[in-house]
């Protein structure tokens, strides 16, 4: 009963591997589905050319989550398109391709080429907070840039649905989501990491991340994710991939009650291991059963009533 329809897709459960986590290769994502039990997977965000990203430390646990500034490292579109193809051959779950670009033109080009691999959804990352020094402010910090990116990606995406991934900052996530919807987005992914933040080693007296600052993910950000999904749900009709701080079934249920259709899970892989997808999917099912609901649709957005 946990299987869900999302846009034109059928997932065995509502959990989705979030972008940037174990999403580099077909093998890795295949294992997240087969062993981990994810309902769908999202690739690491990629753009045209490969990037090494920031030096280590680039991913740093602190007591309440992670700080990361991987710097959008990725092997580039050529390799990623191959991996998407391999995944589709090997696994039955949907795959979401997460793309980004440094310019509007690059978004167009990356979309065109990614579409060839026929991912089940294009997730457009306009909200990575960790490449400021290189890219300037994220596109997602501006309503007009977000509109432009959405429009151009939709133009080249053909029949493949497009979800825009937004962060909790900038001009307000609800307004951003509205602009995405108006420009044709099929879904919203909310949220990317929060902050960014910084941690300093007090003994060597230096910021620990090589990029100095990094986005906050994990349990610390759950309330901000819940609030973001809640606001987006109020503003738009398109479905939401709620993401951020989910480590327990109860967290996922909060996001669904706030309005999420699917549940992105990233950092929880660190806390709970790769089987976290299955655990959370089962927990959601148990919740539905406890209260006599027969599908997710019945509880989505209920916190608004």
């Amino acid at each position: 009963m946990n299987s869900v329809r999302f846009l034109n897709l059928e997932l065995k459960n509502p959990t989705v591997l979030a972008s940037g986590i174990l999403g580099l290769t077909a093998s890795s994502m295949w294992r997240v589905v087969e062993v981990g039990g994810a309902g769908a997977v999202t690739t690491k965000s990629f753009n045209k050319d490969w990037r090494s990203g920031h030096k280590n430390p680039s991913i740093l646990p602190f007591r309440h989550g992670l700080l990361n500034a991987v710097g959008l490292s990725n092997p580039g579109i050529d390799e990623m398109v191959k991996e998407i193809g391999k995944f589709k051959q090997r696994a039955s779950a949907p795959i979401f391709a997460s793309i980004f670009g440094r310019t509007i033109d690059e978004f167009a080009e990356v979309t065109q080429r990614t579409v060839e691999a026929e991912p089940d959804l294009l997730e457009v990352n306009v909200s990575c907070p960790n490449v400021h020094s290189e890219f300037g402010q994220p596109f997602g910090d501006s309503l007009s840039d977000t509109a432009k990116v959405t429009e151009i990606v939709k133009k080249h995406a053909g029949s493949i649905p497009v979800s825009i991934k937004l962060g909790p900052h900038g001009p307000g996530i609800a307004r951003l989501a509205k602009v995405c919807e108006e420009n044709g987005a099929d879904a919203i992914t909310a949220i990317n990491t929060v902050g960014p933040g910084m941690l300093i080693d007090i003994d060597v007296r230096k910021p620990i991340l090589s990029n100095k600052t990094g986005g906050v993910s994990g349990p610390a950000i759950l309330p901000i994710a819940v609030k973001s999904v809640y606001e987006v749900y109020r503003q738009v009709k398109i479905p939401i991939i709620g993401t951020g701080g989910v480590t327990q079934p109860e967290d996922a249920v909060q996001l669904i009650l706030a309005g999420a259709s699917l549940i992105g899970i990233g950092t929880a892989v660190y806390y709970q291991g790769i089987k976290v997808f299955e655990k959370i999917a089962r927990g959601i099912e148990a919740y539905l059963q406890k209260y006599g609901f027969t599908s997710l649709d019945e509880i989505r957005g209920l916190a608004h009533e």
Binding site: L24, S27, W50, K55, N56, P61, P75
Partner: protein, 263 residues
């Protein structure tokens, strides 16, 4: 919360030979042979290193100068602080009548394994190789703890000239080996594997891959086709786990995640 970053001053440095040093830190580490720590050189980078020795309140890593990071480590002085997070990954399992095959700096994790095996009174034989004499670290320890210790160097500066693989089969036979551990360059292991797979002797190998997180989330160290993570399901893999690894000795991935052929 040993995954959290903390820095520790280097308390002692041992120079084994040109460009090969061990660093001692005073820190309790609940680790076993095969597990590694992430070592942060502030302002530079952070990389994984096997624990080569361990006491109640201290640990040691052994580093060979290779690229920019490991070379920078050679300039460190006692008192300099490094981040040491971990332990990460899975350790070797214990077996009697074992053969430890080490190549170059791969000898590091086997040093701790040898110590653990001898503490458990399990018998083993060592077969250690390196490019040259200076890179043969901890030889005295292996000689002390092993039933027999065979040594090879590429240049013949110590032990027999040649590769560890040359006398491998005869040693296995002669020493009645029932389990094989190996750590070293992947190319060495590919050759070892070719030789021992027909024998049906169980083995464990300690792998290296480029790592970003060490905690199983970035996906950088994942192996084709099984999708296992070297930092969590490894770095120690056994013969069954390796059956599903198609990239062995063929490709690995760089910092961007691109496949790289050269080893």
């Amino acid at each position: 919360m040993s995954d959290l970053m903390r820095t520790y001053p280097i308390k002692k440095i041992v120079e084994h030979g040109p460009g090969v040093k061990s660093f001692y830190f005073e820190r309790m580490l609940d680790a076993r042979a095969g597990q590694f720590v992430n070592v942060w050189l502030p302002g530079m980078d952070e990389k994984p290193y096997s624990v080569s020795a361990l006491g109640e309140n201290w640990l040691e890593i052994s580093v060979k100068a290779y690229g920019p990071f490991s070379t920078a480590m050679m300039d460190l002085k006692v008192g300099d602080r490094l981040g040491v997070r971990g332990p990460f990954g899975k350790s070797f399992t214990y077996h009697d009548r074992a053969l430890l095959i080490g190549g170059g700096i791969g000898i590091a994790p086997l040093r701790l394994l040898a110590h653990e095996l001898s503490a458990k009174k399990l018998s083993f034989v060592s077969l250690l190789g390196a490019a040259t004499k200076h890179e043969l670290i901890f030889i005295e320890d292996f000689q002390k703890w092993s039933k027999n210790c065979y040594i090879t160097t590429d240049d013949g500066s110590q032990g027999k000239q040649g590769l560890v693989t040359e006398d491998l089969l005869s040693i296995i036979e002669k020493e009645k080996i029932e389990f094989i551990y190996a750590a070293g360059p992947e190319i060495m292991f590919v050759k070892v594997k070719e030789l021992i797979d027909p024998l049906d002797i169980p083995y464990e190998f300690c792998m290296e891959r480029y790592m970003k997180c060490g905690i199983g989330i970035c996906g950088q160290c994942v192996l084709d086709d099984s999708g296992v993570r070297v930092c969590v399901e490894g770095p120690v893999f056994n013969q069954d786990e390796l059956k599903e690894v198609t990239e062995l000795g063929m490709v690995h991935r760089d910092a961007s995640g691109r496949r790289v052929k050269k080893f």
